[in-house]
C-alpha cells in the first residue's frame, strides 16, 4: 500500500478527457504515479506483469536455494546466499509496487499458491548440478537484465523505482554467474563437462521463456501469433510499460551471450547460431513457443513442485504469522507482558505439567 492512498473518487471529468490527459502524460515521457487516474487496462496489464515478475523472483529462489547447503567453497556459498537473498528482496520490492495499484500482497501470494497467477516457466526447470547455479545466473539472470533494464524507464513510477533497485543488484548476479562458470571451465575435465551440461539444459529456457512468446514473424511466430503478439506489445509500448518487442530483446540477449560463451569455451546448444553480417546480429533457431511451453508449462512435475514447496512454507508458517499479529495486537492494547511475576512462572509450570 502506498503512502496516503485514498479512496477518493475520480475528479468529475469525462472518461475520454482523463484518457487523453493520461496518454499525453505517458507520451511526453512523464511518469504515472499511484494516485493518478489511469485506464483500467493499464492498471490490469501492469498488475499482471508486476505480479508475475514478483512471483518469478520468489519461485526463482528455489532452484538455486537448493544448492545453498552444497556450495563447494565457502566463498561460493556466501555469494549464493547473497544472491538468493537479493531475489527475496526483489520479490518484496515488486509486491510493494503492485500494492500501490490497489492489490493486496496476501491476495497476490494466494493467487500464486493456487496457481492462478503465473511465474516465469524458466524456473520450472530443475537445477540438477552445481553448475546449474552458474548457468542460471549467467543465462537466465542475463536475460532478465536485458528484459529489465528498459523497465527502469517504465511509465509507472513505483514499478520503475523498484526496477532500478532490482537492476543494480541483478548486475552482480550475472557477473558472479559468469565467474562461477569460468572457474568451472578452467577446472578439471569433469568440472568443464558439468558446466557444458548445465548450459545445454539452461540455454533454451533462458532464450525462449525469459522473453515471452515471439511477437514478430522474423522471431519465429506464425502470421496470426505475430499479429496478436505485436498487438499486445504495441499496447504495452504505447503505454510506456514496455519499450521493445520480445524478439528485439531476445536478439540482444543472443548477441551478448555468443561471445561470452566463446570466451568460456562453451558451446551454446543451437547449431543455427552464426554471425549474420548483413543483419549485424547472430542468427539462431526461432523459438518454437507452443512446443516449448507445452513441455515446460504450468502442469509439469517441476511446476507442481515449485508451487507446492512455496505453499508448504506458507502453510507451515501460518502459526508464526498469527503469533506476530497477536503479539502486536496485544502491545497496541497495552496488555502488560505476562510472566513478569511469580504467578506467571507458576502458571507456566502448571501448563507445562498438564
Amino acid at each position: 500500500m502506498s503512502a496516503g492512498q485514498t479512496t477518493a473518487g475520480a475528479p468529475p471529468a469525462a472518461e475520454d478527457e482523463l484518457l487523453a490527459h493520461f496518454e499525453a502524460l505517458v507520451a511526453s515521457g512523464e511518469t504515472v504515479e499511484p494516485r493518478d487516474w489511469m485506464p483500467d487496462g493499464y492498471r490490469r496489464m501492469l498488475l499482471r506483469q508486476i505480479a508475475q515478475h514478483a512471483h518469478s523472483e520468489i519461485i526463482g529462489m528455489q532452484p538455486e536455494g537448493a544448492w545453498l547447503t552444497r556450495a563447494p567453497s565457502l566463498h561460493r556459498k556466501s555469494v549464493l546466499i547473497a544472491k538468493v537473498q537479493d531475489e527475496a528482496g526483489h520479490g518484496l520490492y515488486l509486491y510493494s509496487a503492485a500494492e500501490t495499484l490497489g492489490a493486496d500482497r496476501a491476495d497476490l501470494l494466494d493467487a500464486l499458491h493456487r496457481g492462478q497467477q503465473r511465474f516465469a516457466a524458466t524456473f520450472n526447470h530443475p537445477a540438477l548440478t552445481w553448475a546449474d547455479t552458474g548457468a542460471i545466473a549467467w543465462l537466465t539472470d542475463g536475460a532478465a537484465v536485458i528484459n529489465q533494464a528498459p523497465l527502469c524507464r517504465t511509465s509507472y513510477g513505483p514499478y520503475a523505482r523498484a526496477m532500478r533497485r532490482v537492476c543494480q543488484e541483478e548486475a552482480f548476479h550475472v557477473r558472479q554467474g559468469y565467474d562461477l562458470m569460468r572457474a568451472l571451465c578452467e577446472g578439471t575435465p569433469e568440472q568443464r563437462r558439468m558446466a557444458q551440461d548445465a548450459v545445454d539444459r539452461w540455454w533454451l529456457p533462458a532464450v525462449a521463456l525469459m522473453f515471452g512468446p515471439p511477437d514478430t514473424e522474423a522471431g519465429g511466430a506464425d502470421a496470426r501469433t505475430a499479429a496478436l503478439g505485436a498487438a499486445v506489445s504495441r499496447r504495452a509500448i504505447a503505454w510506456g510499460i514496455k519499450h521493445h518487442t520480445n524478439d528485439e530483446l531476445r536478439q540482444r540477449f543472443v548477441d551478448q551471450c555468443v561471445p561470452q560463451a566463446e570466451r568460456l569455451g562453451l558451446t551454446l546448444p543451437d547449431p543455427a547460431i552464426r554471425w549474420n553480417e548483413e543483419r549485424g546480429h547472430y542468427d539462431f533457431t526461432p523459438v518454437d513457443w507452443e512446443t516449448y511451453r507445452d513441455a515446460l508449462g504450468d502442469d509439469t512435475h517441476w511446476a507442481r513442485q515449485r508451487v507446492a514447496h512455496r505453499r508448504a512454507a506458507h502453510e507451515d508458517g501460518a502459526w508464526v504469522r498469527e503469533a506476530a499479529a497477536a503479539y502486536a495486537a496485544r502491545e497496541d492494547a497495552g496488555v502488560p507482558p505476562a510472566g513478569t511475576g511469580a504467578a506467571g512462572i507458576a502458571a507456566d509450570r502448571t501448563e507445562a505439567a498438564a
Binding site: M1, S2, A3, G4, Q5, T6, A8, G9, P11, R35, D36, W37, A82, Q85, D86, G89, L92, Y93, S96, E99, D104, R105, A106, D107, R161, A162, R165, E169, R321, A324, A325, Y327, A328, A329, E331, D332
Partner: protein, 103 residues
C-alpha cells in the same frame, strides 16, 4: 491496529538517510505487525548494500496526503506569481541573467 486488509500485516513506509548532508529519502515500504519488526525488515530489505546513517519507518496509514481532487487548489497557483523567481528581475551584474547566481 496492526492489521491491514485481508489480515496482512500493516504497511510501513521506509526512509533512509544515505549519507551525511542528505535528508531522509523514501525508499519503499515493508509489511510488519509492529514497529520493531518493521525496522528489522526495512534494514534487511533496503540496506543490504551501502552504509546509511539512519533508518525510519512510518505507518503508511499515518501519512496524510493531499487528495488528487484538491491538487489544483493546492499546487497550481505558483505559475501566476512570477515575482517569486529571481530571473523576473534585472540582473545584478553585466554578465546576463544567469551571471549573479552565486552572489
Amino acid at each position: 491496529m496492526s492489521r491491514g486488509r485481508e489480515g496482512a500485516p500493516a504497511s510501513w513506509e521506509v526512509f533512509v538517510r544515505p549519507r551525511r548532508g542528505l535528508a531522509h529519502q523514501h525508499v519503499g515500504s515493508v509489511r510488519a505487525d509492529d514497529a520493531d519488526t518493521a525496522l528489522g525488515r526495512a534494514r534487511d530489505l533496503y540496506v543490504r548494500r551501502g552504509d546509511p546513517l539512519s533508518l525510519w519507518v512510518v505507518r503508511s496509514d499515518s501519512v496524510h496526503a493531499v487528495s488528487p481532487d484538491e491538487r489544483d487548489p493546492y499546487f497550481s497557483t505558483a505559475r501566476h506569481k512570477p515575482y517569486r523567481y529571481p530571473e523576473q528581475f534585472a540582473p545584478l551584474t553585466q554578465e546576463g541573467p544567469d551571471g549573479d547566481h552565486d552572489q
